[in-house]
């Protein structure tokens, strides 16, 4: 099987500022890759290029036609009910939409307005909207960044189950090192000068507990790569 994403020599400048300076990234089908980087390092720029939302990059990015994005904010159309939001651009698949909503635990909320949802519920709708397209590549741009800590933990579990069932290739952009370790098969770090490191394979069994020594060691290593030292 060929890879789900092949980016080679991807560059992106904003004016004179070089954000991505020749990024090479390959994601295998079904592989979950987390992209870590400090804020402003160009993580989202890379994701937007892969998502096809940014036409102004240089270099090559080959991606599957079927891909879906979950943004940090749910970005539901406020004037469409939940089910119509899930089926945005594919209005004839009502049953699929219902099933996707049930999968994220929102069965029965098809006719709710987005304004009546909690932050976590809205983000689950966004997840259903991505899943219903059966994407070969799922792009997640800090999808849990705006949620409270408890909801975030639940969403990690949900996302892991959904990915295990649907097996899309996943690119998760995050600045949360623990989130990356809990979810990803491989973690790549984007440096401030716009280059990716070789990547770290996460070889821990699921579910990954945060209080193990291996987890702690990996976290320290990744924080080091991000230029942060934890106080002991």
């Amino acid at each position: 099987m060929t890879a789900a994403v092949i980016a080679s020599g991807l560059r992106r400048d904003y004016g004179t500022h070089r954000v991505l300076a020749g990024v090479d990234l390959t994601i295998e089908p079904g592989e979950f890759v987390a992209l870590l980087g400090r804020s402003g390092s160009g993580k989202s720029t890379l994701l937007r290029a892969v998502a096809g939302l940014d036409p102004d990059y240089q270099g090559g990015v080959r991606v599957p036609a079927r891909r879906a994005v979950v943004f940090q904010d749910p970005r539901l159309q406020p004037w469409l009910r939940v089910l119509s939001n899930v089926l945005l651009g594919m209005p004839k698949a009502r049953d699929l939409g219902r099933r996707a909503l049930a999968e994220v635990g929102l069965a029965g909320r098809e006719r709710a307005w987005p304004a009546t949802l909690s932050g976590g519920e809205a983000q689950r709708v966004a997840l259903a909207r991505a899943l219903v397209r059966e994407p070969d590549l799922l792009l997640l741009d800090e999808p849990f960044g705006a949620l409270d800590a408890l909801t975030r933990l639940k969403m990690h579990d949900l996302l892991r189950q959904l990915c295990a069932r649907h097996r899309p290739a996943v690119l998760l952009v995050t600045h949360d090192v623990e989130e990356a370790i809990v979810l990803a098969d491989r973690i790549v770090v984007l440096s401030a000068d716009g280059r990716l490191d070789a990547g770290t394979t996460v070889d821990l069994p699921h579910p990954r507990r945060r209080d193990t020594t291996e987890f702690g060691a990996l976290r320290g290593e990744l924080l080091g790569a991000l230029g942060v030292t934890e106080a002991t």
Partner: protein
């Protein structure tokens, strides 16, 4: 488990009931709020009536409420009021229909197409500075003295508020929603239908509200010049005979029409903007 000894405060704490800091419980007022709010206007009407009845103000300066009611009844009985009201309503609704439709079409052209924006918006921004009533002499030369100039003035007066607000709303649609629509495969037509147009509805309704107010404002002036029917004509006629009762009646009717049209837009808002508050339809 060990407990830590906490030193007793030197001065004893003064305890109060929490609610007392909110100024104590509110005293009950026997009347409901809307009834109390009605007292002011009623008092005003009473004073106005008293001034008339006591002969302080003559009927030629300001007719008392009783005379206004009487005039309404008289004019209603002869059918004069109904016919003139109908004439005014017809002008307003025709002008509104033309003005609102033109405003929406121009806003769509300017808001959705770059070429349309360059061609339309700059002109509209210049033209909207023109005082509508200043067009009166020109409109009379163009359209004569029949129904057309009145309808045209109302159309001009309502076109700009609708255009300006709808255009701004189309332009102001959240770019993140557009981006997410695009990310989920919406093409240009899909974006317009599912993202941009629904997003522009609140702005359009604001424009519509301004347009309704403007339509009555323009009509008041337009009907006092060269008109042979309408509320404004009625008032103008009354002026020649010092019938302040009819003039005041005309003013009240204009006011009522403004209130009713505002209520209609609010009804429309409730229906079109259910998603805002999550009212179920």
């Amino acid at each position: 488990m060990s407990t830590t000894e906490i030193a007793a405060p030197a001065t004893p704490i003064a305890w109060v009931e929490a609610a007392t800091q909110a100024g104590g419980r509110r005293r009950r007022v026997p009347l409901p709020r809307w009834a109390r709010r009605l007292v002011g206007p009623l008092l005003l009407v009473a004073v106005w009536q008293a001034l008339g009845s006591l002969g302080v103000t003559s009927a030629q300066v300001l007719a008392p409420p009783s005379a206004v009611i009487h005039a309404a009844w008289e004019l209603g009985r002869t059918g004069e009021l109904g016919a003139n009201l109908l004439a005014s309503l017809q002008r307003a609704s025709e002008g509104l229909a033309i003005g609102v439709a033109a405003g929406v079409v121009l806003a769509l052209v300017a808001g959705l197409f770059r070429l349309g924006d360059d061609l339309v918006d700059s002109s509209m921004q210049i033209l909207r500075g023109l005082p509508v009533l200043g067009l009166l002499p020109l409109v009379i030369i163009w359209f004569g003295v029949g129904e057309l100039p009145k309808v045209a003035l109302v159309a001009f007066g309502t076109l700009f508020p609708v255009y300006v607000n709808t255009y701004a709303a189309i332009r102001g649609v959240d770019g993140r929603l557009v981006e997410s629509g695009r990310a989920f495969g919406l093409g240009r037509a899909g974006l317009i239908r599912y993202v941009i147009l629904p997003g522009a509805v609140p702005g359009f309704l604001v424009g519509l509200r301004f347009a309704l107010t403007a339509s009555w404002l323009v009509l008041v002036i337009a009907e006092q010049l060269n008109a042979t029917s309408g509320i404004g004509y009625l008032m103008n006629q009354a002026q020649s005979w010092y019938r302040t009762d009819i003039i005041v009646l005309g003013l009240l009717i204009y006011g009522l029409l403004g209130l009713v049209s505002d209520a209609l837009v609010r009804l429309l808002e409730r229906r079109l903007l259910v998603w805002r508050h999550g009212w179920s339809a």
